[in-house]
């Protein structure tokens, strides 16, 4: 099936991600009788063929008892037995089997069962209130059609008996939230909803007892039914986003390979590593805790930790921080800090200190409610008093007041916001952007400044060959043939730049922190830093050069220079120019060296680019912008960006971001292209417009309906018709969003990707 093509990026990523059997054992949970359950996230699964492929591949393994793919949450749940008659099994085979079919598999963080429970409770409440609403409406229609006297009373009593449990069971979400708001001295949308529901039920019951003509049980319950649908959709949307984000590969290691005093090695959870413990870190693994190197030499990729784009070589005595990727050689590290005190913990503390827009922001629905509910309640009270004093019939006055409350009950207002946000989040979900909650969309619509991180956000964080100074054409082929032996990012970039790569050497040796050395007959080829390749210090490659240089030498004589630069993320150029043309202010905040930052800024046409920033300085820069009256969107990925992501009014992170960066961001985008950022802003602005329109519609409806209620002409039938019509109008208006977003976003997609710089090869 052609739709099952897995992108090349994904397959490339397979090579760099290895999950050990110990890590899988930590992630599985026992079911008893020697069975273990393992939940894996498979981000690429998307059709029926994928389900069959993966399930068949897993069931073919002798120790797998059960495998079931969940397409909605893109997961597979796999039950396997730890022991077969042939002895203990290696659970890594499960991952290998999935990888062999061409899909990526990631271990999941601890499953969030609380949210699943909430979803089921909401669905149950929808079911119960739907059942009650349908049956009460059945009885109400009979009353409206002319049932009277004893029959009407009986129908009312049956309605009351159906409504009471439904109200308590399905209404508890609103009552609880309203009570929480009132206790803190605030109001939210749930306060007028709870009040209208309880009051109308009480008055209807009183009417029923006194053989009254009008009872509002149908309005009470169908109101709950409508509002619960909105709330459930909202919950499902957030759930979907959260499960997609949780399904991403964890970048921080779960455990560490502990070296005991007798030299034996044992895999332990990262929390169990103590200060002074000795840890072995293989090439290709991330450093689990902060420590000092006491054995081995290697290069570290710090791009996700500090934003530094060039690998740093480390040897004995060097300090390493958790999260860095060990590239070339095995390292022995002595832990200097516990996992919970490591760099990551400092970042967490900074994040808590940087109280962002999230904490200060009040939801638009709550702001509307704080204006709306006093007006409505005063109106109902005034009608009650006016009818009471002028007419003298206090019972009739009470009925009028309840009619006002029910007619104005914010059914449409309660749906106005969540329905638009659910549609907008669904639209963004299809584009590959996960929205963590509705308030993120509201905040995203308000921004006027965008702050970008450089490494990993504006750029992909992987080097690209941009220039060659060679005496001979065959030098590139020689260099590539050498480079295939290394997993250093520069070597891999060299390999990617050439179509054919076959080794022509007898023996190849890699020196961590230096480069590769190969022997072909009597000749010695070296590929690496200038100092390593030529066996002497080389002036040209000062640390201020924005380009990274690699030298190929033969018997100590330089053959060729290769220059590497970070690759711009596709769409970065259009993103910047589009944002600038729509009068957004753009700043670049990076932890990388200023010379590299300046080069990227020039390529993108940015005026303001700040380099060599610490995480704290990034937060200060965001805070400075906010104090200047700007609302800042922060887009970043690294561990060092996390505090700034938390401090900004709203934040976005790519799915390749560090674990803590993804947690801190309000929106996570799965697309490789950066122009998803202006698209997301566009959708957020459209949805903000639709929310305002919906408010206008809901209020306009009230302006028409309230006089009818105050005049005393509102019967339960009129209320039922008016309420459902206004809700339908609001929902229909919200559904326009996908069309609006599609129409205006189309021209952006058609713009061809502009190359950052013509490739000189």
């Amino acid at each position: 099936m052609s739709c099952c093509g897995v992108n090349a990026e994904g397959v490339l990523a397979l090579n760099s991600v290895s999950i050990s059997a110990e890590e899988i054992a930590l992630a599985s949970h026992p079911l008893g009788e020697g069975l273990q359950q393992l939940d894996l996230s498979i981000p690429d699964v998307h059709c029926g063929e994928c389900i069959v492929t993966i399930e068949t591949a897993l069931l073919r393994l002798p120790y797998v008892r059960k495998a079931r793919v969940n397409l909605t949450s893109r997961r597979v749940s796999c039950v396997y037995s730890e022991h077969t008659p042939d002895g203990p099994i290696d659970p890594a085979g499960i991952i290998e089997a999935i990888n062999a079919t061409g899909y990526r598999a990631n271990l999941l963080a601890q499953a969030d069962s609380q949210s699943e429970k909430n979803k089921n409770q909401l669905l149950l409440a929808v079911g119960v209130s739907g059942f009650a609403a349908a049956n009460i409406m059945l009885l109400s229609v009979s009353v409206w059609s002319g049932a009277d006297a004893a029959t009407r009373d009986m129908f009312h009593w049956i309605s009351a008996m159906i409504a009471a449990p439904a109200l308590i069971y399905a209404g508890r979400f609103f009552f609880r939230s309203a009570w929480n708001a009132l206790r803190r001295g605030r109001t939210n949308m749930d306060v007028p909803i709870s009040l209208a529901v309880t009051l109308s039920y009480a008055v209807s019951l009183w009417e029923t007892m006194h053989h009254g003509e009008h009872a509002w049980f149908d309005a009470t319950v169908s109101l709950l039914f409508f509002l619960l649908i909105g709330r459930t959709l909202d919950h499902i949307m957030r759930d979907k986003a959260r499960s997609a984000i949780n399904g991403l590969a964890r970048l921080a290691p779960r455990g560490a390979l502990l070296v005991s005093a007798d030299g034996s090695r044992r895999y332990v959870a990262v929390e169990e590593v103590k200060v002074g413990d000795e840890i072995a870190i293989a090439a290709g693994d991330r450093i689990p805790v902060d420590g000092t190197v006491f054995g081995g030499e290697s290069d570290l990729d710090l791009s996700i930790v500090t934003g530094e784009s060039r690998p740093v070589s480390v040897s004995d005595g060097a300090e390493v921080s958790s999260g860095a990727m060990n590239l070339t050689g095995a390292l022995l590290v002595r832990a200097t800090r516990l996992a919970r005190n490591s760099l990551l913990a400092e970042i967490m503390a900074l994040m808590e200190a940087a109280e962002g827009g999230r904490a200060r922001y009040r939801l638009i629905a709550d702001r509307a409610a704080s204006l709306y509910s006093p007006v409505v309640h005063i109106l109902a009270l005034t009608s009650f008093l006016a009818w009471g004093f002028l007419g003298g019939d206090w019972k009739h006055a009470m009925l009028i007041a309840v009619a006002v409350l029910i007619i104005t009950c914010p059914c449409a207002l309660g749906l106005a916001v969540p329905v638009v946000q659910v549609v907008a989040a669904g639209e963004l979900f299809r584009k590959g952007v996960m929205v963590k909650d509705g308030s993120a969309l509201e905040r995203l619509a308000e921004i006027d400044t965008v702050a970008f991180d450089k490494t990993g956000t504006l750029t992909l964080g992987s080097p690209r060959l941009v220039n060659i100074q060679a005496t001979n054409d065959s030098d590139l082929a020689t260099a590539v043939a050498l480079a295939v032996h290394s997993r250093h990012p520069l070597s891999q970039a060299l390999v990617r730049s050439s179509s054919s790569a076959h080794s022509i050497f007898d023996r190849v040796r890699e020196t961590a922190g230096g480069g590769l050395e190969a022997f072909s007959g009597d000749d010695v080829y070296r590929l690496g830093s200038a100092a390593f390749a030529c066996g002497q210090s080389h002036g040209a490659s000062g640390s201020d050069n924005p380009l990274t240089e690699v030298v190929l030498s033969k018997n100590g004589a330089t053959l060729a220079h290769f220059f590497f630069d970070d690759t711009l993320r596709p769409g970065a150029l259009e993103t910047v120019s589009r944002l600038q043309s729509t009068s957004f202010q753009i700043v670049m905040v990076s932890g990388d060296r200023q010379s590299v930052v300046n080069r990227t800024a020039r390529a993108l046409g940015l005026d303001r680019a700040l380099g060599a920033l610490t995480p704290k300085q990034k937060v200060e820069e965001i805070a400075r912008l906010s104090e200047g009256g700007h609302r800042v969107l922060m887009v970043g990925d690294g561990i060092n960006d996390a505090p700034a992501l938390a401090a900004a009014h709203v934040s976005m992170a790519p799915s390749t971001a560090s674990d803590v960066g993804r947690q801190a961001a309000d929106l996570v985008f799965f697309s490789d292209r950066l122009d998803i950022v202006p698209q997301a802003i566009h959708v957020a602005r459209q949805s903000a417009r639709l929310i305002r329109q919906n408010f206008a519609l809901a209020i306009g409806y009230n302006v028409l309906a309230v006089p009818i209620a105050i005049a005393g002409y509102a019967t339960p039938l009129i209320a039922a018709i008016a309420m459902s019509t206004s809700s339908l109008i609001v929902v229909a208006n919200a559904l326009r969003l996908s069309r609006l977003a599609a129409v205006t976003a189309a021209p952006w997609k058609s713009t061809p990707a502009v190359a950052y710089e013509a490739n000189p090869i």
Binding site: G48, E55, T56, K66, N70, L71, S73, L123, L138
Partner: protein, 52 residues
């Protein structure tokens, strides 16, 4: 009007049956993977059967 004594309980009973069916389908996990269920019906054979 006497027939109401039968009809109303019947109507309520039928409604309750519907509610019961919904609760059962929710509890047995039929809403866990709506997209997957749509595809599975097209698959040739059930791959999710536990091995004997």
């Amino acid at each position: 009007m006497n027939m109401l004594i039968y009809l109303i309980p019947i109507a309520l009973f039928m409604g309750a049956m519907g509610l019961g069916a919904f609760l059962w389908s929710l509890r047995s996990g039929q809403y866990d993977d709506l997209q997957g269920a749509a595809w599975r019906i097209l698959a040739e054979d059930d791959t999710d059967q536990p091995k004997p």
